[in-house]
């Protein structure tokens, strides 16, 4: 069965709203408008305004209210329009949601799900296009997911709502119209494991979210050049599934990490450091990172494309470390 990423998130929402009366969705424009990315379209009519709640433009307060409601016995899903806007709720996320369990000595769990769009590629310029999920992956106490396929988008949301801890789901904004195969009947997705999307022997390409498609395309392109590239979908940024990463490196001995964050302090840097610490002697070449350029995202199409990691950059990086230039 095929559906778009947008439909898959909506199906995930519908599934959890139906199966647990404690679940409700709140955020800016999620109700009447149908969601800024049309994800929640139709849900207001189906579930009513109590469970599909339009909020004021108050990120910090509706996120904080989500934390309180979760502790109070509900299962809120908070939608923050984009990761750029989540900066306004950073205090609630880092100082409260992530810390409450530990600093209360284990008395409080925060079963909150926060969804937000991330990433560039739609010419929305510097205040709507950034990828900051790696900042959140830095914080112990929260779980950070980045589904790249419709099946993961649907299945991870369902797994997230069943999780007793705060789970943050980053949906790359360019993925919403992308169609893909989904399990029928529905299967839950394991939110503790990364997954190998394509097996290969010469080089491992690690990617997640909006970069996964580019990594798979790069793998196709490399095949024509006689290079067998393995593509690993990181998909769980915290807690990180180190085993899958290290196991892939032990087989391919060469690594390209793709990440839409800025290169300096990127999540790709973390993957790279992990491999250096734990798989250094498996490597036949230095790890290469393909990240965004060190600029706030430009508006102009050609400049934005130049700022973001592209398939060609991934192909070139793989060829570089294999000593084979195209």
């Amino acid at each position: 069965m095929k559906m778009t990423y947008r439909e898959a998130v909506r199906e995930g929402l519908r599934h959890v709203l139906k199966s647990d009366p404690r679940v409700f969705l709140m955020g800016e424009d999620v109700g009447r408008y149908g969601g800024a990315f049309a994800v929640s379209k139709g849900l207001l009519a189906e579930f009513g305004p109590d469970r599909i709640r339009d909020t004021p433009l108050s990120e910090s307060t509706f996120t904080g209210a989500g934390i309180g409601a979760a502790i109070g016995g509900m299962r809120p899903i908070v939608e923050i329009m984009t990761v750029n806007f989540s900066m306004l709720a950073l205090d609630q996320i880092v100082n409260s949601a992530a810390a409450l369990r530990h600093m209360s000595g284990g008395q409080i769990s925060v079963p909150l799900v926060v969804r937000m769009a991330t990433g560039g590629g739609r010419q929305l310029a510097a205040q709507h296009s950034h990828s900051l999920e790696g900042w959140y992956a830095h914080v112990p106490g929260i779980k950070v997911l980045a589904p790249a396929t419709p099946n993961d988008a649907r299945g991870m949301l369902v797994a997230a709502i069943e999780d007793p801890d705060p789970v943050f789901i980053f949906e790359h904004a360019t993925l919403y119209p992308v169609e893909g195969e989904v399990d029928d009947p529905f299967q839950p997705v394991d939110i503790s494991r990364s997954t190998i999307r394509r097996a290969g022997t010469d080089v491992s390409i690690f990617a997640y979210g909006g970069s996964l498609g580019k990594a798979l395309q790069a793998s196709d392109d490399l095949t024509t050049a006689g290079i067998s590239a393995e593509v690993v979908d990181i998909r769980v940024l915290r807690p990180l599934d180190e085993a899958t990463i290290l196991e892939s490196v032990s087989r391919t001995h060469r690594v390209v990490v793709v990440d839409e964050m800025w290169r300096t302090g990127s999540f790709a840097g973390e993957i790279s450091a992990l491999i250096m610490e734990k798989a250094f002697y498996d490597l036949d070449a230095p790890v290469v990172r393909v990240c965004s350029a060190e600029v706030p995202m430009p508006y102009a199409k050609h400049m934005e494309a130049a700022a973001l990691p592209q398939t060609a950059n991934i192909v070139a990086a793989a060829q570089e470390i294999l000593g084979r230039h195209g």
């Binding site: 309180g68 502790i71 109070g72």
Partner: protein, 349 residues
């Protein structure tokens, strides 16, 4: 162009002077004695904490509540055990008057595992979920959205509970205060906002941090019913909280209390209090909530010297016991460092 000249409307302004005591009368001698005892317990607890801090037994930030005891003691009496409480970092009094034993609070300040937050929170993060006491929040204003969420959960589950949210006058400057007033009023949530206006945001006086010094007016802007209460009068606080909590249960809408109080000490133990005059402090100390209440009770013939002596003795014994409990507590095993970052597998909240 015709200019309409009007006299400026008279506005109630929060004054730096202590309010005059109202004609409160306690419901009974027993009730009066229990209020006095609890205020004394909190006062002596904090005096002991001050001493232990100087000895290095307690570390970190320690924010004493001395002078404000009537607020938490009165407020908790006006709530039920089903109501939720959200407090700030100056919350020893709130925790104790919510029924958390002084021993577990003291042990928490020692950092011992028998503390109410296993020693992970310290003075600023006291928690007891069994008493619906949800912290202990040390970012000014951050507890307010949290309280809005607790109230939202109660409303969505049709529970007749109130969430009481304490914060200081400094929190009124935070965006979250205004966002939360708006949302609680818009969504008709059962929150009792309790602003403990002690006239200082850390060391910055109200008239140097607030453009509109009448704090209750901030709440009214959002259509929230707001009252000012004498925070040095435990009976006045008790009555106001009880009355407003009842109204919230009846109407299902938020309410706001601006409680006029004063802290006799600095913001924290690190504060040399250079920003206010001795005259101002001593003027407020004439309205000390404990001694002024005792005076009222003596004048009414409800309490005599023997009663006060007895109270002091039993409070001193309880504080000794609290220190003993903290001293004898264990340090949590370092192996447990990463415990409770995530909920253990299999456990469901």
């Amino acid at each position: 162009m015709a200019v309409q000249r009007r006299k400026p409307a008279k506005r109630k302004r929060t004054s730096a002077r202590p309010p005059k005591r109202g004609p409160g009368v306690p419901a009974s001698r027993d009730h009066a004695l229990s209020l006095v005892r609890e205020m004394m317990l909190i006062r002596r607890f904090e005096e002991k904490a001050d001493e232990l801090y100087s000895l290095g037994k307690i570390r970190g930030f320690l924010h004493l509540y001395i002078g404000e005891e009537a607020v938490c003691v009165g407020a908790m009496r006006g709530l039920t055990s089903d109501d939720s409480v959200v407090a700030t970092y100056r919350e020893h009094g709130h925790a104790i008057s919510r029924g958390i034993s002084p021993g577990t609070v003291m042990a928490e300040m020692y950092g011992k595992v028998n503390g109410c937050s296993r020693g992970r929170g310290g003075s600023m993060h006291l928690f007891d979920v069994s008493r619906k006491f949800y912290g202990g929040h040390a970012i000014v204003g951050a507890g307010i959205p949290f309280a809005v969420g607790l109230a939202l959960a109660d409303k969505m589950e049709s529970k007749p509970h109130v969430t009481a949210c304490f914060f200081g006058d400094g929190a009124v400057d935070e965006g979250e205060f205004h966002e939360s007033m708006n949302m609680a009023s818009l969504w008709k949530l059962p929150v009792l906002f309790i602003c403990e206006n002690n006239l200082y945001a850390m060391g910055t006086a109200l008239d140097r941090h607030e453009s509109v010094r009448d704090i209750a007016a901030h709440a009214r802007v959002y259509g929230v019913h707001a009252e000012q209460v004498d925070g040095m009068d435990v009976l006045a606080v008790e009555a106001a909280v009880e009355r407003n909590a009842k109204a919230i249960r009846r109407d299902g809408t938020p309410r706001f209390l601006e409680i006029l109080t004063y802290r006799f000490r600095g913001h924290s133990m690190a504060d040399p209090v250079l920003y206010r005059s001795k005259e101002e402090v001593s003027e407020w100390m004439t309205r000390d909530p404990i001694s002024s209440f005792l005076l009222l009770l003596r004048n009414a013939g409800l309490v005599g010297d023997v009663d006060v002596e007895k109270l002091e003795k039993s409070v001193a014994a309880e504080i000794d016991e609290a220190v003993r409990f903290a001293e004898s507590g264990e340090w949590e095993a370092v192996e447990d460092l990463t415990r409770d970052v995530y909920t253990p597998a299999g456990a469901r909240s």
